[in-house]
């Protein structure tokens, strides 16, 4: 385990058995996450970046044991979450919380938001006396910028941004140490997105929270993350701190992601034409190619890339899995 990390994930793999294609055929296996390792330091934010299907959500959910892992370990505070017995795992749940992408489907429509925020306290901190719980819910509403009189309302009476504030209050209830933020602002309008991002960062400063932050939006990642892992087809292809990754992307996929992301400086009026471009879609995770998974879309692929799988190589400025990385 790495020194001083809160969550240290080693060689994590997740597989899903799919439906049989024929009556007697074998069940095809989807390799969603293939040997992923990373570590998250206390009080910091690690970004998991990639396109849909790259395995970023599955990685995070398997690391906190909300999805069963096929192999690997996830050391949280010195204990491997993946080998804990269920009761011991349940005890630790209060330190691990999640904020989901869709504030519409992640809140129970039949429950008042005050009860939604109180529920984690009832489940995970039953020793807490009832008046203290009530007080805590009030406090949480204040922390996330909602008014205490809104506790009696139902989720549908809130806007998307306010619902996400309720989700954040619920995640904070048990004073967790790690929060998995799964695309927490993707469903929100830009103006609301800024409010939520600022709130998440302020809460991190005030409570020393660690975030595992899943996003496909590189602008958002650049704003909130300290370190970034770029995923492609279930593997980390590049890992670096924010300044290095954004100023000197070394994996061609990272470079392509940065070139594809909209930016205010690329103007039609100035005749902007994209340079680094990937074509087509990622290969299917059911039939992963033998060499580098990105080779089929890589603008710089060589014969070696299609035959030999590149390993993640570590050095002073980060890690990259590419036979021919950018300098």
């Amino acid at each position: 385990m790495r020194e001083g990390s809160l969550l240290d994930v080693r060689e994590l793999s997740v597989r899903f058995a799919m439906q049989r294609q024929s009556l007697l055929g074998a069940r095809p296996v989807l390799q969603a996450v293939r040997g992923v390792s990373f570590s998250l330091r206390p009080g910091r934010t690690l970004g998991l970046v990639g396109e849909s299907g790259s395995g970023k959500t599955t990685t995070a959910m398997a690391a906190i044991r909300l999805t069963p892992a096929f192999s690997g370990s996830a050391m949280f505070d010195g204990v491997d979450l993946l080998s804990l017995d269920p009761e011991a795992m349940r005890q630790r749940r209060r330190h691990l919380q999640v904020i989901f992408q869709d504030p519409y489907s992640s809140l129970n429509p039949r429950e008042r938001v005050g009860a939604i925020v109180r529920e984690p306290l009832e489940l995970m901190m039953p020793e807490m006396p009832k008046p203290a719980r009530k007080e805590r819910v009030r406090e949480l509403f204040g922390l996330v910028g909602l008014r205490p009189d809104q506790m009696a309302l139902f989720p549908h009476q809130f806007s998307g941004g306010q619902r996400q504030r309720v989700s954040i209050a619920r995640a904070l209830a048990t004073n967790p140490r790690l929060i998995v933020c799964d695309e927490p602002v993707s469903a929100l309008d830009v103006a609301i997105q800024a409010q939520i991002l600022n709130l998440l960062r302020r809460l991190q400063d005030d409570y020393g929270l660690s975030y595992l932050f899943i996003s496909h939006d590189l602008g958002v990642v650049q704003f909130i993350c300290d370190d970034v892992a770029v995923m492609y087809l279930g593997q980390i292809v590049e890992f670096a701190d924010r300044p290095s990754l954004f100023s000197r992307p070394r994996h061609p996929y990272t470079a392509a992601l940065l070139a594809a992301a909209p930016s205010l400086t690329r103007r039609k009026s100035a005749g902007y034409v994209r340079e680094v471009m990937v074509r087509g879609d990622p290969p299917s995770p059911l039939s992963i190619p033998p060499g580098c998974a990105f080779a089929s879309r890589c603008p710089r692929a060589q014969p070696k890339c299609r035959e030999e799988r590149p390993q993640l190589v570590h050095d002073a400025s980060g890690s990259v899995a590419c036979h021919y990385p950018n300098p």
Binding site: N198, K268, R274
Partner: protein, 330 residues
Amino acid sequence: MTEPLLSIRDLKVEFSTRNGRVTALDGIDLDLMPGETLGIVGESGCGKSITALATMGLIPDPPGRIAGGRILFDGEDITHADARRLRSLRGADISMIFQEPMTSLNPVFTAGDQIAEAIMLHQQLGRAEANRKAVELLRTVGIPEPERRARSFPHELSGGMRQRVMIAMAISCRPRVLIADEPTTALDVTVQAQIFDLMRDIQKEFGVAIMLITHDMGAIAEMADRVAVMYAGRIVEKGSADAILDNPLHPYTRGLIDCIPVLGKAAGEQGRMPPLAEIPGVVPPLHLLGQGCAFADRCPLAFDRCRIETPILDGRSHGVACFATEMEAV
């Protein structure tokens, strides 16, 4: 001077709702010139999509209705055109691509069939000829193995390919106006970039005028020649893309630009990024709009007059509807 291809004048659209009659569009003026891309930007609920639907004659009536104003296509008033005229316009002269290609394609027909249908409808071609053209179009929009893909059903295609099929269908009759309503919102960034590149290529090749509806200022920068910024059913600022992005005048436009975590801003610097600018509050629901500027409650520059009078978009090429910036300019 060239005439606008599509011209919207003082358009008003109303909806009857549980909360009474609300004004979804309140006096919209827009011009789309041949071959240009006009970006329409704003938050959800500001009336971007209603503008597009009104242009296509697709406002559901009831509960909605066009309560005033005119929509001119190539000089012809199509505001209250009958169903027959609208059918011949849609697809042939004005076509539209939507946000979610999965729900806008018919799941029980192949991609090729759906493109061929549009061709047969508008161009009086036989099935075989239309099918051949459909394959050709799939090749034009960059779908690999177009012969095979023409026989695929929508669920067998990726999101990016579905949007390409939608674009193939939309350009099948060489329309002069293409309305794209958040065409890439459901797609991954690398796929979004490919779709944008494709739309630009198609514009270069066919000279189609594009009305691009988006909430993304980055998409505006990359795609638009001119921009209209909408808020609560009105245009609050319009001008060239450069003018809007480099010198935004309306406090709402400024807020929209400042609150984006822009890629590349201080990318290489150590330490934390400064907090993002925020626009406080949310877009007001339409039935609660009172008198005065709809943005006044969220505006850092609002003063008494803003809550009483409604500012009008001035007629300059870079126009703004704001009392506070008017004062600034003086």
